[in-house]
């Protein structure tokens, strides 16, 4: 279900949904949800099934129910594009949330910060907590360990008999933990890990160290 790891003497639970829970801070970290993507496509005449829209919220609710965090930090690309009716869904969803919500804005987050602040969501360009630097784009900064998203990392696991599995994953190197995309209907960037890196693949129910 989840995998616990330690980074800079802090604990982190990697969840199969792609979220990470940080018990010391009671904070839930989630990246690249891309809300509104399906509505965006539909608005432009591409009939992606609209029942998939609620899926993202269902999954958010499940993971929140499991960890009961005090705060939730989205690492960017919460919304895929400009305002659409999915914002209303987000608005009503926010009313059900008791945790504090922070958004570290990503390249897709073009909706006005004022709109977020109306809902009580704080929008930041980055967030520093102790020795941890939370951003959307991967960054390298002296003295900090970076949590980020943006890439939508995936891993191709190869085996005997020419077998290959394509898996979504958490990618951890010396100074970064790159999150998988949490959202439904998002693509992948295939990671080529270096010696010493770690890759945790996520399936529909487990987190497995594969590299």
């Amino acid at each position: 279900m989840k995998k616990s790891i330690q980074l800079n003497n802090q604990h982190f639970d990697l969840h199969f949904s792609g979220a990470v829970y940080w018990p010391e801070e009671q904070m839930l970290l989630i990246s690249d949800v891309h809300l509104g993507k399906i509505s965006h496509f539909r608005k432009y005449g591409s009939a992606v099934p609209n029942s998939a829209i609620t899926e993202n919220f269902d999954r958010l609710n499940n993971v929140i129910a499991q960890f009961q965090p005090k705060s939730i930090c989205f690492l960017g690309d919460l919304f895929h594009s400009s305002l659409n009716l999915e914002w209303d869904l987000f608005q009503s969803w926010m009313q059900t949330i008791t945790a504090k919500v922070v958004l570290v804005a990503g390249n897709h987050d073009i909706i006005s910060h004022l709109k977020y602040e109306e809902l009580g969501v704080k929008v930041l360009s980055e967030l520093q907590i102790g020795t941890f630097l939370l951003t959307h784009h991967p960054e390298e900064r002296e003295g900090f360990f970076n949590f980020c998203g943006h890439l939508h990392p995936g891993f191709k696991l190869r085996g005997l008999g020419r077998q290959q599995l394509n898996l979504r994953c958490f990618y951890i190197n010396e100074q970064q933990l790159i999150f998988p995309a949490f959202g439904e209907f998002t693509g992948n960037y295939w990671i080529n890990p270096k010696e010493g890196d770690r890759i945790f693949a996520i399936t529909k129910k487990e987190v497995i160290l594969v590299y």
């Binding site: 005449g45 591409s46 009939a47 085996g159 077998q163 599995l165």
Partner: protein, 825 residues
């Protein structure tokens, strides 16, 4: 003027050219002037253009007695051709006849290559004859007041109908015709087709089953007996002949004397990459050909292609390396010799290619077959027989292509808008949608207006709107524009333009190839070594490179399968080969089989050559894992299905994961665990029971439907691919169809487009009917299982295939763990 007088006019013109009209031409003239529709079965270069253009002009003369002094303007005839390359040729012939007959009839071309300026001019005043492609016809239907444009249309000719029949472009044509039948009064519909197995059906598809047009139509066959002689190029030393491979470059020296001995030679290759390689290697090895040799394939720019075609006609070229891009139409009288490199995969195609040579009536066509690997020599022998007996394939028409229907309805909504009740009747009259139910029709209408079957509160779906009077109409300019751009992209792969840094268009290339390259990498394209500088806005910017080694793009269209007829001939040849091994070498007559003897001996040392009552299975172990090879000799599509089926059934017995490889001879199941063959045989895994059910389940895993869905998503407008040459930023709308397929699978599995992907897999990819027949055959055969020490000559081309399917019955998590464990070892 009566018919005789009209005929005399035409025949006088023929006499002036020192020609004599063929019987089939006159038959077609008669039928046309009687107001009939029909299908003309005539090969390329037989004078088919004049069979139909002549009566169209004569009809005009008849209705306009003062045709020499007065010109009645407006579109009168449309000529549809599947390849734009053919349009020039047709325009030239048509213009010549129209002018010399003293009419002022004008001829125009409208394809993707036509300039914006010319299109605009055509919009103001259509030519009398418009030569165009199926896509451009759809685009005309997408423009406002198209009904006025087509009002006085008298004739529509669908050239090379056999090429369109088994494709979705054929469905586009069917739908377009259904509309034209209503809006153009007195329309006569004619098709021209090369010989295929199902000509009668081809006519039915063209004209509509039981339609008025069909009941008033004729099938006219040009009986031109053409002699074809097939010669195999047999390597002198079999020992060095490779067991696998598909390029055939080792026989390059054997090809040169043939080129030298002939005026013009066409070398047909199966893929564009093979074409590029052959061209380069020939030039490197025989620099004296420089300037006398050219290359022709679909990704090269239009100017170069047209130049090559003209040079063939002018007899200034000694050899042209080409792909199927030169299969159709264009009449090249000077071509004397054809060389087919590698198996042509189908008899009809092979005969058609042979027909590209010796075009003058009475001349013999010569085609040389160059096998690219040893086993292909058997194919050579089979082809000789096929040509002798003219066994040709059917082209299977598409049924219920909802993607094309969605596209077509949106097209009508973009231009004039439509009322469903009228259009439903027209659509039901086509072959493709004759079984369309009211429910399906409602589904499609809901899909284009609501984007789903039920209206949701928070939905912003926007495409086709229903106006107050009930008219279905697209009013959003963005939707209309994207739709028009998308109409042409019925071919699936995203295509990028290749350009020099300093400007200058070289051609187009598939995105998936380019995406594997980094700036600085060198690749071969259009016969040149090019260095990738950058990719920007759907453009690949390159500069010339002096580097010798380079990567050659492989285009995905290249993988074709054996037809049923070809497979049968191949099996017979194989059985003959088995029998011949029991004879002394001196009494084997076929030179191909004689040449193959050393390889057959190797095969027999490890395994057997199956006889007609035998079904061969080979197993062995290599570093890669445990191999099991099965040899049904049924063509790659059937093998793909059989392979998936068997893999699935084995996986029911025990948790196991496979990769599948297949070619036209057999298929392989490769696993990291040993396959219990005893168990396979004991459990009768080739049984018919639950065939469809098992196939469905096996395919779920093997992803064939997912691939089919790609085209469907593009055609139905679910995925917007953008358009080459148009710098429109569409990144925020690009999604990949793979992702989309998964979303449909999880959220809308009853979607007709999603289901269509499966149906197409069964009907067109797997050829379900053939699969049943082969299972029947296998049931009667004795299974021979050989446990081999090492790979056999027969297995070699299969096990080295890199393109593989997957199938697994293990839980994902278990599989990951096991793979990791094995990697640790």
């Amino acid at each position: 003027m009566n018919r005789n007088e009209l005929f005399t006019l035409a025949e006088n013109w023929f006499a002036k050219q020192n020609w004599k009209a063929f019987a089939f031409q006159k038959q077609t003239w008669t039928a046309y002037l009687q107001g009939k529709h029909g299908l003309l079965n005539a090969p390329t270069g037989s004078g088919k253009t004049y069979a139909l253009w002549v009566p169209i002009v004569l009809d005009y003369i008849k209705n306009n007695p003062d045709y020499k002094t007065k010109h009645k303007k407006g579109l009168k005839a449309i000529w549809i051709t599947p390849l734009r390359a053919l349009s020039v040729e047709i325009a030239q012939s048509a213009t010549r006849f129209a002018e010399e007959m003293g009419t002022s009839l004008t001829v125009g071309i409208r394809t993707g290559d036509t300039s914006q300026k010319e299109r605009a001019a055509q919009k103001r005043q259509m030519p009398d004859l418009l030569i165009t492609t199926p896509e451009s016809l759809q685009l005309l239907l997408a423009s406002k007041n198209y009904d006025k444009t087509f009002k006085d249309l008298n004739a529509i000719v669908i050239d090379e109908w056999h090429e369109l029949l088994g494709t979705k472009r054929g469905v586009q044509v069917e739908l377009g015709l259904s509309r034209l039948k209503t809006i153009s009064k007195n329309l006569k519909i004619w098709g021209i087709s090369a010989t295929i197995g199902n000509l009668q059906q081809a006519r039915e598809v063209l004209l509509g089953p039981n339609s008025e047009a069909f009941n008033n139509s004729e099938l006219i066959r040009a009986k031109l007996n053409k002699k074809i002689s097939v010669k195999s190029i047999i390597p002198k030393k079999m020992e060095k002949f490779p067991w696998r491979g598909h390029l055939g470059l080792h026989l390059i020296d054997e090809v040169v004397p043939i080129i030298k001995a002939s005026k013009t030679t066409l070398l047909f290759t199966n893929t564009r990459s093979q074409c590029e390689l052959w061209f380069q290697k020939l030039l490197n090895k025989y620099p004296e050909f420089a300037g006398e040799m050219a290359m022709h394939h679909g990704s090269i720019n239009k100017e170069t292609r047209l130049w090559v075609e003209q040079a063939i006609r002018d007899e200034t070229l000694k050899a042209v390396v080409c792909t199927s891009s030169l299969d159709l139409g264009v009449d090249f009288a000077p071509v004397e010799t054809i060389i087919q490199i590698g198996g042509p995969k189908g008899v009809a195609r092979f005969i058609q290619r042979a027909g590209r040579s010796g075009h003058q009536p009475g001349k013999e066509s010569v085609i040389h077959f160059l096998p690219t690997h040893a086993i292909e020599l058997i194919e050579a022998a089979a082809l000789q027989k096929a040509v002798k007996e003219t066994v040709v394939e059917d082209r299977i028409p598409y049924l219920q292509s909802f993607d094309v229907l969605v596209q077509y309805l949106t097209t009508l909504a973009v231009s004039n808008g439509f009322f469903p009740a009228n259009i439903y009747r027209e659509i039901k009259s086509t072959f493709c949608f004759q079984e369309l139910t009211e429910d399906q029709w409602k589904w499609v209408l809901n899909f284009i207006t609501k984007g789903s079957q039920s209206l949701q509160a928070y939905d912003e779906y926007k495409k086709v709107e229903i106006e107050e009077n009930g008219k279905f109409k697209v009013n959003d300019r963005g939707v209309a524009m994207r739709h028009r751009l998308q109409i042409g992209t019925i071919v699936s792969d995203a295509v990028l333009t290749v350009k020099y840094m300093k400007g200058g268009y070289i051609g187009s290339i598939e995105e998936w190839f380019i995406s594997k390259l980094k700036p600085g990498d060198v690749f071969t394209f259009a016969g040149r070594n090019l260095e990738l500088v950058r990719i920007k806005n759907m453009q690949v910017i390159v500069k010339t490179s002096k580097q010798k080694t380079s990567r050659v793009p492989s285009w995905q269209g290249g993988r074709m399968a054996f037809s049923a007829q070809m497979s049968e001939l191949l099996r017979e040849e194989m059985y003959e080969a088995a029998a011949s091994m029991e004879l002394p070498s001196s009494s084997v007559r076929s030179s191909e089989l004689k040449a193959l003897r050393p390889i057959f001996k190797r095969q027999i040392r490890e395994s057997i050559i199956p006889k007609s009552e035998e079904f061969l299975i080979e197993t062995f172990k290599t570093r890669e894992g445990y191999h099991a090879i099965f040899y049904p000799f049924e063509g790659r599509f059937v093998h793909e299905a059989l392979g998936s089926l068997l893999a699935y059934r084995i996986s029911l017995l025990t948790p196991i994961s496979f990769t599948l490889a297949f070619n036209d001879y057999g298929f392989e199941l490769l696993s990291d665990q040993e396959i219990d063959m005893e168990q396979v045989l004991d459990n009768d895994l080739f049984s018919f029971d639950f065939l469809m059910d098992d196939l469905y389940k096996s395919l779920n895993a093997s992803e064939m439907a997912r691939r089919k869905f790609r085209d469907i998503a593009v055609i139905a407008g679910l995925v917007f691919t953008g358009f080459p040459n148009k710098l429109i930023k569409t990144k925020h709308l690009q999604s990949n169809s793979q992702l989309l397929f998964s979303v449909f699978k999880d959220h809308e599995p009853e979607n007709l487009l999603f289901l269509q992907a499966y149906r197409e897999t069964f009907e067109h990819q797997l050829e379900e009917g053939r699969l049943r027949l082969s299972l029947e055959r296998i049931a009667k055969q004795q299974i021979i299982w050989k446990q081999c020490e090492k790979p056999t000559p027969f297995s070699f081309p299969i096990i080295t295939d890199r393109l593989r399917e997957k199938l697994s019955s293990e839980k994902l998590e278990d599989r990951i763990r096991r793979m990791l464990k094995q990697l640790e070892k």
